[in-house]
């Protein structure tokens, strides 16, 4: 592999710097101090392996002269230039926010970091830095070369076809082991299991101890059971004695009561014969005593009822007298229909009354009609017929009135014609007619004014009605104006024809006036007074005719009324007679007197009603009297029987007859005494029985009962009471102790049962075995992991041991050349450990010299040779990577510098060597040794 070119966008102090077509062999990168050689070394390393992860890493080298942080690098596979080696890998890396990594294979395909690493022979940055990219700082030590991962990559870089890291595998295995167990207290699995196991074992020990106590606890339990039994026995003894004492104390009273009752019973005497008999009659006696007051009330009631009966009897007799002989008691009793008769009678009374009233009214109306003044003198002697006299007038007033009216018109026309003729005559001379010019103008002026006002009013804002009136007035005004104009014209323009016509008409009017006056009996030329007289005569004739008409109308009406009144009277009479006949027929049917009026009938029926009721009341009173008499009689019989009984037993019976109430009270008093005595005896006997039963019940049977009975008979009540009081504390103690023991026994029993039934031992055992099993599994894994790691480690070591000699031989040869044969060989360290540091050199005299004893220059030459050897060894097993050496010849003397330069030139035959230097003499030296070396110059920044 060789770097063919690079371009720096920005990296530390370098910016926009690049080279193409770098030589595959030795390349001298020359430049003064501060030109950026070390930065270039870091740049090339960064391009191959990436930016440091931390920005504060000195190799991060943020750009200080601008440019994007990063750049590009191209390299070819193979260390030598070959045909077609323009096929290059291209790496582009940029850091910062716009981080970019682009790795492309020679065919342009994208590649991964892993692909790149394979292309680099599996080397990582550590290896590259340790062996291939060296500056003066690194050169003085082989520490970096001694790292496990570097050594592994150097000596055992390939297994199973691919390059994988045994060191990483070992590290991973160790990591897994540490998860399983830690040396000291930790949270690794085995540590936790051990802790848990310890806990379980401790618990198991406790549980085992507890289980081992089982027999002892069982024995304790049995002991407790015995104690409980004893305590219970003692407690029961106390309880029993206490109960006995309480029984004795209680029963002593019972016994005393029994004894007293027995004494009373023993002193009992039976009652005498009378009291004994009274006891048998106790019910009857009490009943009579209770009924005695009622008996007296019954007697009093009998008297009252007799008086009442007499009153009723008298009423009945009076009613029968009133009703008549046809009514006896039986008929009255069976006359239950009197209620309906009374209704009929009342109906007849009403109907007859109404008809009589109607008849009387009709009669009065007929009399009034007969006596009407209109009919005076018109009625016949019998008043049956009447005629109306005629009074027609001599002249017809209406015709007369028409004649007068016509006469008035003709007279008026006649006078008008005469006036016109006179006016004509005046016009032929100065004359003043009725229609003067000034009058006509005045009228015309008035008419014009009316029209004008009406128009103004109509145009004004006024009500519609007002407007209509105004329009009417205007029209009238216009008419008046037209008439006035005509009159004026006539006034102003009379013609001769007109004058002839007027004369003709005047003659005819005069003739007519005369005709009419004659017809009226007036002069031919009647005056106005004549006319008035004729008119008044006509009015008088009209009044007279109207008076006659009124008289005829009144007479006719009076006659009509009279006729109607008489017809009504006839009908009322007929109706009244019919009802009277009906009433008479009803009375006949009901057996009532024919002469009885409706009121009389009603009165008789009322009497009958009273009698009927009294008969009912009489029957009831009789029944009550009979009942009372029976009760009184019964009481008397019972009293008589008691009296007889008393007499038979020598008792006093007279008072029962004389004063039964008092006697009965006395007898009852005597009876009560007897009953009380007997109840007392019964009670005593019952008390004795109860006391005996309680004693039997309390004592029970058996010897204990006999003993108690005997003890009770002693009657030591005070001693018993005292003993009971003294026993109470012992009783409480015994009870308390028993409770304690029972509780203790229960607890012990529960504990024992818990222990017996507990699965805790089993649980713990199972847990212990489970943990032990898990621990064993962990230990198996631990052992397998450890063994795997051991295998890897030993293999790695063996591998290293096998390959290291070749490296040392190669490095030793080169070191011998460099030192001019002063040191002939390199030797590995004597021990396993420290070999990486403790390389020894063998001098020509055979002395083994520790590397640390050499001079600085020699040490640097030694480690440079060692790195060259390692690089070649790595190349043999993997890939020939380029060497980047930063001023590594600085500390060498000129002779050895030439030798080292020759070694570099030799190495450059198989590796690309980028020799960075700021020393012109070293550049020259190398160019002298390797004239074909490519020189690349860096300028001072």
């Amino acid at each position: 592999m060789r770097v063919t070119g690079f371009h720096i966008d920005g990296f530390g102090a370098l910016a926009d710097l690049g080279f193409d077509d770098l030589s595959p062999g030795l390349v001298i990168v020359s430049g003064p101090n501060e030109a950026g050689k070390s930065t270039l070394l870091d740049f090339l390393t960064t391009m191959l392996f990436g930016f440091p992860t931390r920005r504060d890493n000195p190799r991060f080298r943020a750009p200080v002269r601008g440019g994007r942080h990063g750049g590009q690098l191209t390299f070819s596979e193979g260390s030598r230039r070959t045909p077609g080696d323009d096929r290059q890998w291209r790496i582009e890396r940029y850091a910062g926010p716009h981080k970019l990594v682009s790795i492309r294979r020679p065919d342009g395909a994208s590649a991964s970091e892993e692909d790149l690493r394979r292309a680099l022979g599996g080397a990582d940055e550590a290896l590259f830095r340790a062996v291939f990219a060296v500056d003066l700082t690194d050169l003085g030590s082989a520490e970096a070369v001694g790292r496990d991962d570097v050594r592994e990559l150097l000596f055992s870089a390939s297994i199973v076809g691919q390059r994988r890291s045994a060191a990483r595998a070992m590290s991973e295995l160790q990591r897994q082991r540490l998860e399983l167990a830690r040396l000291r207290q930790g949270d690794a699995l085995a540590n936790r299991l051990l802790a848990d196991l310890e806990d379980v074992r401790r618990s198991l020990t406790e549980a085992s101890r507890e289980a081992a106590d089982y027999p002892a606890r069982h024995a304790e339990l049995l002991g407790l059971e015995a104690e409980v039994a004893r305590a219970r026995e003692q407690a029961e003894l106390n309880e029993r004695r206490t109960r006995d004492l309480e029984v004795l104390i209680r029963l002593w009273d019972v016994l005393e009561r029994k004894r007293t009752a027995e004494q009373h019973v023993a002193g009992w005497t039976e009652p005498g014969p009378l009291n004994a008999w009274l006891e048998t009659q106790a019910t009857e006696l009490q009943a009579l005593r209770s009924a005695c007051s009622g008996q007296l009330a019954h007697l009093s009631q009998l008297d009252d009822l007799s008086n009442q009966r007499r009153g009723i009897e008298q009423s009945i007799l009076a009613a029968m007298g009133s009703l008549g002989s046809s009514w006896d008691r039986e008929r009255i009793r069976t006359s239950g229909g009197w209620i309906g008769l009374m209704d009929d009678a009342r109906r007849f009374r009403v109907s007859l009354g109404e008809r009589e009233a109607n008849w009387r009214t009709a009669r009065a109306l007929a009399e009034d009609a007969d006596g009407a003044p209109e009919l005076t003198g018109l009625l016949d002697s019998d008043g049956a017929g009447a005629t109306i006299a005629s009074c027609a007038p001599e002249v017809d007033p209406e015709r007369q009135a028409r004649l007068v009216s016509e006469l008035r018109k003709n007279l008026a026309e006649q006078r008008l014609l005469m006036a016109e003729q006179q006016a004509d005559q005046r016009r032929s001379g100065p004359s003043e007619g009725p229609l003067s010019a000034s009058s006509v103008f005045s009228v015309a002026l008035v008419a014009f004014a009316i029209v004008a006002l009406s128009v103004v009013a109509a145009l004004a804002r006024s009500a519609p009605a007002v407007r209509v009136i105004c329009i009417a007035m205007a029209v009238a005004g216009c008419a008046l104006l037209a008439v006035t104009i005509a009159a004026r014209r006539r006034l102003l323009d009379p013609t001769p024809a007109e004058k002839t016509v007027v004369a003709t008409v005047s003659d005819r009017v005069v003739a007519r006036v005369a005709e009419l006056a004659t017809a009226l009996g007036l002069p031919n030329t009647p005056s106005d007074s004549d006319l008035e007289t004729a008119a008044e005569a006509i009015d008088r004739a009209r009044d007279l005719e109207r008076s006659h008409d009124e008289d005829r109308r009144r007479t006719t009406a009076a006659l009509q009324r009279r006729k109607f009144a008489h017809e009504s009277l006839t009908m009322a009479l007929e109706d009244l007679e019919a009802e009277r006949d009906s009433f008479a027929a009803w009375k006949l049917v009901q057996g009532l007197g024919p002469a009885l009026s409706p009121d009389g009938v009603l009165e008789s029926l009322t009497t009958l009603q009273e009698a009927w009721k009294n008969l009912g009341a009489l029957d009831r009173v009789d029944a009550k009297i009979d009942q009372l008499r029976a009760e009184v009689s019964q009481f008397g019989a019972r009293l008589a029987r008691l009296s007889t009984g008393l007499r038979e037993r020598g008792g006093e019976a007279e008072s029962l007859e004389t004063d039964p109430a008092r006697a009965l009270d006395e007898l009852c008093g005597s009876l009560a005494e007897t009953v009380e005595v007997r109840a007392t005896r019964t009670s005593l006997l019952q008390a004795v029985d109860e006391a005996s039963a309680e004693l039997e019940r309390s004592f029970g049977l058996g010897p204990q009962a006999l003993r108690l009975r005997a003890e009770l008979e002693t009657g030591e009540v005070l001693a018993w009471t005292q003993e009971r009081a003294e026993l109470e504390p012992a009783r409480a103690d015994a009870r308390s102790r028993l409770e304690q023991l029972v509780r203790a026994h229960q607890d012990a029993s529960n504990e024992l049962r818990d222990i017996a039934g507990s699965a805790r031992m089993s649980e713990l055992e199972q847990a212990r075995l489970g943990l032990e099993q898990e621990l064993e599994e962990v230990l198996k894994s631990w052992a397998v992991l450890g063994c795997a790691r051991l295998l890897l480690e030993r293999t790695l070591k063996r591998h290293e041991q096998e390959h290291q000699p070749a490296v040392l031989a190669r490095a030793g040869d080169r070191f011998a050349k460099v030192t001019g044969g002063r040191y002939t060989r390199l030797l590995p360290s004597l021990g396993d450990e420290g070999a990486r540091e403790a390389i020894r050199v063998l001098s020509t005299v055979g002395a083994e010299i520790d590397a640390s004893s050499l001079s600085r220059g020699s040490v640097e030459q030694l480690y440079l040779c060692l790195r060259l050897g390692l690089a070649e060894t790595f190349a043999e097993r993997s890939e020939a990577l380029p060497l980047i050496l930063d001023d590594v010849l600085v500390n060498f003397d000129p002779g050895r510098a030439v030798s080292v330069a020759e070694a570099l030139a030799e190495t450059a035959e198989h590796h690309q060597v980028l020799f960075l230097t700021c020393h012109p003499h070293l550049e020259q030296l190398v160019r002298t040794v390797a004239p074909e070396a490519q020189v690349v110059r860096l300028e001072r920044i």
């Binding site: 892993e114 055992s156 390939s158 297994i159 199973v160 691919q162 390059r163 994988r164 890291s165 595998a169 070992m170 991973e172 295995l173 897994q176 082991r177 540490l178 998860e179 167990a181 830690r182 040396l183 000291r184 207290q185 085995a190 540590n191 051990l194 085992s208 289980a211 024995a219 017996a756 507990s758 699965a759 031992m761 089993s762 649980e763 055992e765 199972q766 847990a767 075995l769 489970g770 943990l771 099993q773 898990e774 064993e776 599994e777 230990l779 198996k780 631990w782 052992a783 397998v784 992991l785 450890g786 063994c787 795997a788 790691r789 051991l790 295998l791 890897l792 030993r794 063996r798 591998h799």
Partner: protein, 444 residues
């Protein structure tokens, strides 16, 4: 029996190695509901044994040792055992019990102070005791037995037995190790099969070996029966503990043991599911295969719960997934979750990954690179460890570096490497696979 035709027909039950109320070995922590049932399993199995005797109306029960798991004898176990035998006694069934190496008489602890039920015979130590048994009032058998006095009983107790004159079959009850019968068992009360056959008993009711074995006897022959019934309830995932566990019902006909009938009394069974990952593409498929195996196991377990262990073998790229830290644990959790609600339960105890990477080790061994060196080193180490105990001790000491002090001082790893649980050869083999896998995986 002078006249076999007069001998009554009957059955008796032979059980051994009850290990009552003892924990299961070889399984890690379990879910609470599983732990509870595991805890009760041995006691429940004993209850089943008692029920079996009652249901079959057998003449007697023999228990051939190791009733309890240790001299401390769980209290619960003792009470349960006594109560069970009391039930049998109440039902007229005799019980004959000997003690074995796990519950020797003299070192045992007894919580039972009272006498045993009437029909219970606990054979003592030293001399063999014989007890006649009647069936329906007719002598039917003579049962002899002797218990271990101490755990490490090394005497051949079988030789103390003898044929007893009397009617009925002769039954010997003994806890012993018949040499050559089974490996992996301590050689307590060692005897040979010939020893047993030569004594003249009809039936040897043995205990100690947890696998059911009929060492001698078959139906219709006159040779004596020598029988290990196996333990009543499996206790660990070991091969001998897998499959059905229980007792043997011996049917006696015409004065001889006619045949045997194994009857399962266990409530939890152990199983191993071996899966070759060679044809398995990914973890999901592996999980599906294991789930299917679980279902098959449950279906064939006759209603018993299962404790399963997966063993992964074969080569596949899947090996790298399995090797990734946490993968096996996650798979185990998932499998347990798949059956969390099952009853009877199915508990996946562990996954033993013995799969290998796809590296062709033989081909790699022939190479000259690091891997070849690694394989060759392992090839050399294995035989050394197998043959040199000091090398094992040296390796154990080296591997113990970094362990907590308790484990180092107890030399736990050395004990582990000397135990069958992790042989040196297995250790090296697994370590080589792991190392190669680690190298291979580094590239990913």
């Amino acid at each position: 029996m002078d006249d076999p035709s007069r001998a009554p027909d009957f059955s008796f039950v032979h059980a051994a190695d009850l290990h009552l109320d003892t924990p299961f070995k070889g399984i890690g922590s379990t879910a609470p509901h599983v732990a509870r049932q595991l805890r009760e399993a041995s006691l429940a199995a004993f209850d089943s044994l008692v029920e079996l005797c009652l249901e079959r109306r057998v003449a007697f029960l023999v228990v051939a040792g190791d009733v309890y798991d240790g001299p401390e004898r769980g209290l619960r176990a003792q009470l349960r055992f006594r109560d069970g035998l009391a039930r049998l006694s109440d039902a007229g069934i005799s019980s004959f019990v000997v003690h074995g190496n796990h519950d020797p008489v003299e070192t045992g602890w007894s919580a039972l102070s009272g006498p045993w039920p009437e029909l219970v015979t606990i054979f003592g130590t030293g001399t063999v005791k014989a007890v006649p048994v009647e069936v329906g009032g007719i002598p039917a058998a003579t049962v002899q037995g002797v218990s271990f006095a101490q755990r490490g009983e090394r005497q051949n107790l079988a030789l103390r037995f003898a044929h007893r004159a009397g009617p009925g079959i002769q039954v010997g009850v003994l806890h012993c190790n018949v040499q050559g019968a089974a490996s992996g068992y301590d050689d307590y009360s060692p005897c040979s099969l010939d020893d047993l056959r030569g004594i003249g008993l009809d039936y040897w009711a043995l205990g100690h070996v947890h696998a059911r074995m009929v060492l001698s006897g078959r139906s219709g022959s006159d040779e004596p029966w020598v029988v290990y019934p196996g333990n009543l309830q499996a206790r660990s995932p070991k091969p001998s503990e897998r499959g059905m566990k229980g007792a043997v019902v011996a049917h006696v006909h015409a004065g001889r043991v006619a045949d045997l009938e194994p009857v399962g009394c266990d409530v939890v069974r152990f199983g191993l599911v071996e899966v070759d990952i060679g044809n398995i593409a990914d973890l999901a498929e592996l999980r599906a295969r294991l789930v299917a195996a679980s279902r098959d196991g449950l279906a064939s377990s006759d209603g018993r719960s299962l404790v399963l262990r997966a063993q992964l073998v074969g080569q596949s790229e899947l090996h790298l997934d399995l090797r990734r830290p946490g993968t096996l644990e996650d798979l185990l959790v998932a499998l347990r979750g798949d059956f969390a609600e099952y009853q009877p339960f199915c508990w996946w105890d562990s996954i033993d990954d013995r799969s290998r990477p796809t590296v062709d080790i033989d081909a790699a061994r022939a190479g000259s690179d690091f891997a070849a060196d690694l394989i060759r080193l392992a090839d050399q180490l294995g035989p050394i460890l197998e043959s040199d105990e000091s090398a094992v001790e040296y390796l154990a000491a080296e591997l113990s570096e970094g362990l907590p002090g308790t484990l180092r001082t107890r030399r736990v790893l050395e004990q582990l490497l000397k135990s069958p649980n992790l042989s040196p050869a297995e250790l090296v083999d697994r370590a080589l696979v792991l190392a190669l896998g680690a190298l291979e995986g580094d590239g990913h």
